[in-house]
Symmetry: C2
Subunit: 280 residues, 2 copies
């Protein structure tokens, strides 16, 4: 099931072609996106996602259509989603057609959430660490590398997930050249130790996580401490729980790291899911 809305709020057939072959989104991966979770018709963290879309647009010099247009497209998809329950709502904005008038291409696409993601949320995942090849100062030094912008140039992210599968694992945590932990290809890393949650700083060249932020708010209200600081592999082995979080996967516990079981965090996972859900 898919529902597609253009930025003027009109619905259109998601199985029909809507993109020209010379769209720079296709030709050059030159565009940005967000994926939002909606539950029972209500989008989660819509404001934070639209803020991050605007941040990505600024980093890539894409002239982003105004917020009202995105909100209209989101509402059109929500209004026409034929079921209760969950939806993954993807917003995409490309630089538009090559040699065109500069008008960006934008749309909102509502999609079902697959059984694989549901199983991962329930059962946890195994991950491998893979080198991302960047050093901790690179994002600041070289903004043209777009580290921390959520562009659609995700071929590397997809290749890393295939490499994980090749190694018999479900997903990846990227590491920087100095061994610092970064993020998953489509998720944010969160580590729990005692009553403290930690996540790596966005300054390393990773995405500031919308789901991580919601989880931290919920946990703080329950009296937990939260820290944004560099983390390393031994921190994962020593932790009470390691999690990859994203809008679609919500809070997913990591049970195995590079082939070794981590501390069982099933109870802790349920507690953190409760904090996250308390935000909605």
């Amino acid at each position: 099931m898919r529902v597609l809305a253009m930025l003027d709020g009109t619905l259109t057939d998601p199985d029909a072609p809507h993109i020209r072959v010379d769209d720079l989104g296709l030709m050059r991966g030159d565009g940005i996106f967000e994926t939002i979770l909606a539950v029972d018709g209500r989008p989660r963290e819509l404001g934070a996602h639209l803020d991050r879309l605007a941040r990505s647009a600024a980093m890539t010099d894409i002239p982003l259509p105004d917020r009202a247009a995105w909100e209209r497209a989101v509402q059109a998809v929500l209004d026409n989603w034929p079921a209760d329950g969950e939806m993954a709502l993807k917003l995409v904005c490309t630089r538009g057609v090559d040699g065109g008038d500069g008008t960006p291409t934008g749309f909102a696409l509502g999609m079902e959430i697959g059984e694989r993601v549901r199983a991962q949320r329930r059962d946890g995942i195994s991950v491998v660490t893979l080198e991302r090849g960047i050093d901790p100062g690179l994002a600041d030094r070289a903004p043209w590398l777009l580290l921390g912008a959520k562009t659609i140039s995700y071929a590397i992210n997809m290749a890393a997930q295939r490499e994980a599968e090749r190694r018999g694992a479900d997903d990846v945590v990227f590491t920087a050249s100095d061994g610092s932990l970064l993020e998953g290809p489509t998720s944010t890393l969160v580590v729990a130790s005692g009553r403290t949650l930690r996540t790596p700083p966005a300054q390393l060249g990773i995405l500031p996580g919308t789901t991580q932020a919601a989880l931290f708010r919920g946990a703080e209200r329950a009296g937990w401490a939260t820290k944004v600081e560099p983390l390393r592999v031994p921190d994962l082995r020593a932790a009470d729980g390691v999690f990859l979080v994203s809008s679609v996967r919500r809070i997913t516990r990591v049970h195995t790291l590079d082939g070794e079981r981590l501390t069982d965090s099933a109870d802790l996972h349920a507690e953190l899911v409760g904090y996250y859900e308390s935000e909605y």
Copy 2:
């Protein structure tokens, strides 16, 4: 002027949409491409381009349609290009529709070559060096980073060219973390000293150049030596000529590097263009 052919050889309207919004090429920049120069109806280095497309497909695990299909699409575009002179012929292959049956999306698009490229070929270009953030061993160590695969995830390449414009330059030469020179965002670096041409090794995580290979063959036949070896910025300042070469720009001389004029290579440029053209 644009001519679009699908892989079955049928022509279709390039101004109409042909790509679904959930094509992984658009959603994830998950696809590969080649750009070929055709002159007076004859494609240059077609075999080398199709070989490199197959290499990129292998690196990205994309099930590439067979060579005959690409050749058919290329021929359809060539046969229907309404003019003599030059054409840029782009081949694109994506992983296909998200959640689909795994059939890749492929097409061949013939395009005119713009005045900007023609002016750069004639007048030369100024370039800036920009850090690419990779170390020389990374491509071998971390194949999931797809260094040296020609994917459509080119957002960084486009951002680097915008950074060059911001600095008042035309283009970029990327540098590795140890200062080694890599390539341009859409071109190969060639340096001439005496009667020797040099280019950096593909093992650094850069694309093996089809135009560079043709130039080297032509120059070798004229008695020049050629070397594939690491180069550094001082090599550019000491050289008799520095060139960015690609299918569409052919052989373009670099007259200015990071704001400083390089040795005038106008005569040398004409000589090298002759060697390159002697291949066709």
